[in-house]
Subunit: 478 residues, 2 copies
C-alpha cells in the first residue's frame, strides 16, 4: 500500500510537470495536430530558453572557462565506417520479443520478471487463463507468457545518402556525439597544438531507435547530448576519472539542484561496458526512482585503437619529453586514454524542472497558494519581468518598455507584461521560473524608484531605477 501511494504521488508530480510544460509552453508533443509522433517533443518559447541556458552553462564551464578543453561540432551523418569501427553497426542492439497474444513487441530486459517454466495467470480474450512461462519474463502489456524467441534489434537509424537506395549508400544517424571526437582527435590536437591531458567537447542531437521510450523527455528516440572526451596519458586516467566524476556532480549542485536528490554511483563490474575500466553515474531521484543523469567513464584507449585499426591511420600522440620504456630515451608515441563525462541535455532539462517545481499552500496574508519554479537565475528562461502597475498610464508602460530595452542591451532576457492584475502577473512569472519582477508605478514618476520582487521569498524592495540592471546582473552571476 505504501508503495502504491508513493507511486501515485510520483506520477502525480510527473503529470503536473507535463501539464505545466504544455500549459506554459515549455514542451509540446511534436506534430500534435497530427496526433503526435512517438516520443517526439518540441520545445516551446520557455522550453527553448531553458534548454539553451542549460547547454550554454555546460559549454561555459566545460569549454570557455577551461584552458584544457576545446569545442567541436560534427555532422550528424558521418561515414558509415565510423559506426562499423565503433561496433555500433554490429552490436548496438536490444533484445526484442513479440507477445503471441496481444501482438505487442517489447524489450526483453524491460519486461516483468517471472521464473521460466512457472505457471502464470493472465487475461486473454476477456477471461483469466493460466499458462506456462516460456521465457524468464511475461508480456508487459497483457501479462501473457506466450512469447516469441528474442531477436536482436539494432538501435541505429538508417538512411541513404545519394540518389539510389542501394546497400552501399546506407548511412546512419549518430547514436552518440562521442565518436566524432575520436575520429577528429588528431585534427583537433594538431591544429590547436594541444598536449594531453586535454578535452574535446561537443553538444548536439543524437538518435536511437529505442523500443521503450519513457518518462516524457527522459528517454526519447531523438535527444540532445553534452559530451566531452578527455584525452590523457594512460597512467593519469584513474585520477582524471576521480576528478571528472566530482566536477560533474558539483556542476549540477552549482546550478541549484538539491544535493539530497543527487548521488554518484560506481558501476558494478558486471554493468561496465566492455570498453570501460571504471564508470560512475550521476543519478537523480526522479519520481520513478534513482535513474541516470550522466555517465562518467574511463573508456581507456579502446575507441582510438579501434579507429586506428579500421582506418589504417596512426592516431597516436607523440610526446617528445616522456621516456620511451623500450628505448630508455626521450620521445614516445602513445594512444591516450579517455575519460568521458556524457550528459543528456534533454533529461537534464527534465531534472531541473522536477527539482525546481514547488507548490506553496495559501498562507497568512496570502489567500491563494502558488506554483513556483525555483530555477537557478542562470537557467531561468526569463530573467526579469517588467510590469507597469497600470496598463492605461502611458508613462508607466513607456518607462517599463524602456527598462526592458536596457536589460536586453545588457544581454539579460527581459519580458514585458501589462495584462491582468499585478498578482496574476506575479503568479505567471513564478510558474515560468522568472527570478525577478520589477514593477513601475506612480512613485516611479516622483522619485525614480521601482519595486523589485524576488520569486523565491516574494520579498519586495524599493530600489533606484538606475540600479536595476546592476542588481539583477549580480544576482545572476552569484
Amino acid at each position: 500500500m505504501g508503495d502504491k501511494k508513493k507511486n501515485s504521488a510520483e506520477s502525480d508530480l510527473m503529470q503536473k510537470i507535463v501539464g505545466l510544460c504544455k500549459r506554459r509552453g515549455f514542451v509540446f508533443q511534436s506534430s500534435e495536430i497530427y496526433g503526435g509522433l512517438k516520443s517526439a517533443y518540441d520545445y516551446g518559447p520557455l522550453g527553448v530558453e531553458l534548454k539553451r541556458n542549460v547547454m550554454a552553462e555546460w559549454w561555459r564551464s566545460m569549454v570557455h572557462e577551461r584552458e584544457d578543453v576545446v569545442g567541436l561540432d560534427a555532422s550528424i551523418i558521418m561515414s558509415p565506417k565510423v559506426w562499423q569501427a565503433s561496433g555500433h553497426v554490429g552490436g548496438f542492439s536490444d533484445p526484442l520479443v513479440d507477445c503471441k497474444d496481444c501482438k505487442t513487441r517489447f524489450r526483453a530486459d524491460k519486461a516483468p520478471v517471472v521464473e521460466k517454466g512457472a505457471e502464470v495467470k493472465y487475461r486473454a480474450q476477456g477471461k483469466t487463463v493460466t499458462g506456462v512461462a516460456n521465457q524468464p519474463y511475461v508480456c508487459p502489456e497483457c501479462g501473457s507468457p506466450n512469447l516469441s524467441e528474442e531477436r536482436e534489434f539494432n538501435l541505429l537509424f538508417k538512411t541513404n545518402l545519394g540518389p539510389v537506395d542501394t546497400g552501399d549508400s546506407t548511412v546512419y544517424l549518430r547514436p552518440e556525439t562521442a565518436q566524432a571526437m575520436f575520429v577528429n582527435f588528431l585534427n583537433v590536437q594538431s591544429t590547436y597544438r594541444l598536449k594531453p591531458p586535454f578535452g574535446i567537447a561537443q553538444q548536439g542531437k543524437s538518435f536511437r531507435n529505442e523500443i521503450t521510450v519513457e518518462h516524457f523527455i527522459f528517454r526519447s528516440c531523438e535527444f540532445e547530448q553534452m559530451e566531452m572526451e578527455y584525452f590523457c596519458p594512460p597512467e593519469e586516467a584513474p585520477n582524471w576519472l576521480d576528478y571528472w566524476k566530482q566536477e560533474r556532480f558539483d556542476w549540477y549542485v552549482r546550478l541549484g539542484c538539491k544535493k539530497e536528490n543527487l548521488r554518484l554511483r560506481a558501476h558494478e563490474d558486471d554493468e561496465l561496458a566492455h570498453y570501460a575500466d571504471g564508470c560512475y553515474d550521476v543519478e537523480y531521484k526522479y519520481p520513478w526512482g534513482w535513474d541516470e543523469l550522466e555517465g562518467i567513464a574511463n573508456r581507456t584507449n579502446y575507441d582510438l585503437k579501434k579507429h586506428q585499426e579500421a582506418s589504417g591511420k596512426k592516431l597516436t600522440y607523440f610526446d617528445p619529453v616522456k621516456i620511451n620504456p623500450e628505448t630508455g630515451k626521450q620521445g614516445v608515441h602513445y594512444l591516450p586514454y579517455v575519460i568521458e563525462p556524457a550528459a543528456g541535455a534533454t533529461r537534464t532539462v527534465l531534472m531541473f524542472l522536477l527539482d525546481a517545481y514547488d507548490e506553496e499552500p495559501p498562507s497568512e496574508g496570502r489567500k491563494d497558494g502558488r506554483v513556483v519554479l525555483r530555477l537557478h537565475p542562470r537557467l531561468a528562461p526569463i530573467k526579469v519581468a517588467l510590469l507597469p502597475l497600470v496598463k492605461k498610464d502611458e508613462w508607466l508602460t513607456g518607462k517599463a518598455r524602456e527598462i526592458v530595452k536596457d536589460f536586453l542591451r545588457n544581454g539579460i532576457n527581459a519580458f514585458y507584461d501589462e495584462k491582468d492584475a499585478i498578482g496574476r502577473r506575479y503568479a505567471r512569472q513564478d510558474e515560468a521560473g522568472t527570478p525577478f519582477c520589477i514593477t513601475v508605478d506612480g512613485q516611479t514618476k516622483e522619485d525614480g524608484t521601482v519595486t523589485i520582487r524576488y520569486r523565491d521569498d516574494m520579498r519586495q524592495d524599493r530600489i533606484k531605477l538606475e540600479e536595476a540592471v546592476h542588481i539583477v546582473t549580480s544576482k545572476i552571476r552569484e
Copy 2:
C-alpha cells in the same frame, strides 16, 4: 581571358579559405580518417565558436531583442503527415539524368546548356567524337550528349521509426525548420497569448539529399538553418515583407559584412515558389558570383491552410476587435499570412569567413605580410588573447592567466598563449580573427599597465590592467 583570370582568382580565394579552415581548425572534412563523406563537414575549435556566435547574434536580434518574436526548438523527425501536407513528400524533387557514356548522374538544371538537336563535340574513350544533343544540355563531367530521360528524385532523407522496416514506419528528416512553426502555431500563440503580428523563430539542422553539393559548406546535405515565421493579418503582409527584407539585409551589415558585397534581389514572377506572393533574396558576392544567403518570402496563408485541411484542426486566429466583413460586427476568425526570413547558418559562416579574409603585403617597418580575418568582434571565436612576453617569467605567465580568468568570469572568451615569439603569436591571432591581444611584460610589474594590440590596424596602446575588461567589453558591444 579576363573571365578566366577572374575565375582563377576566385577559386584561389576559396582554396585559401578551405586551407585556412583546415589548418586553423575552423572546418574539417567529416570522417576524414575514413576518406571523408560527401559534403559533410565538422566544425573544429575555432569554427564551432564562430558558428555559435553567428547563431547567437541571430537569436539575440530576432528573439531576445524583440517583444514580438518567441523561440521554438522542434524535433528533426516529425510526423510524416507534416511532410505530406506541406507537399514535400509528393513534390520536393530534382530532375536527375544519367550520362550513358561516363555513367555520371547529375541534376538537369545544373548541366551546361546547349541547343537540343545541336551537334556537340566531346571526348569519349580517348577520342574526340561528335554527337547530337538529345536534351537541351550535356553531361557536366564528360560533355557527352548521350543522356537518359530526366526522372524526379525526392530530396527527403527517409528512415524508419520503430523496429520494423515496413512502409508505415517511414519517417523523414526535416528538409526545413519552417514547418514546425506552422504545426505549432496555435500551441505557441495560445500559451504565450500572442496577437498577430508575431513571429516564431527556430534554429537547427535540416537535411536535403542534394545531388549537387558545392562550394565547400555553401551547399551540403546536412546544414543548419535560422528561420522565422512572422504571422500577420493578411492586409499587413506586403508592409511586413518590406520591413523584414530590410531588417535582414541590415543585420549582415551590422555584423560587419561589406555593403558592396551584399544586395537585395526581388524574385522574378517565374522564380517564385508556388506558395509565395513576393520574395527577396539577400545575395552575397561569393567568389563564384552573386548567390543566395537568405530568402525573405511572403508565404501567404498557404502553409496554415494546408495543415488545417490535412489535420482537420482549425488553425485560425480569433481577433475579438477586428470587424468581420461578413457580419459587420466585431470578432473575426482568420488564417494569418506569413512573412518568412529564412537564413542558412552554415553559408552565413562561409560568407563571414570570405568577407573577413584579408592579406596584407609586407610594408614599411614590417618585413612579413600577414593574413588577417577581420571578423566583427561579436563573431570572433576568441575575443582576446593574453600573451606573456616571456614564457619563463612566472610572474608574467601567472598574471596573464589571472587576466584570462577575469575575462572568462565576465563572459568574454579569452585565450592564453605563451608559445613562440610575440610576432608569431600576433600572426596566429590575426589569422584566427582575434580582435584584441594583450601583452603582459616587465613594465606590467612596475606600473600595472599592459599593451593592448588591435588586430585591424595593429595599433598598440598602453592601458591600465584594471581597465582591460572594460575596454574590450565596450569595443565588443559597439
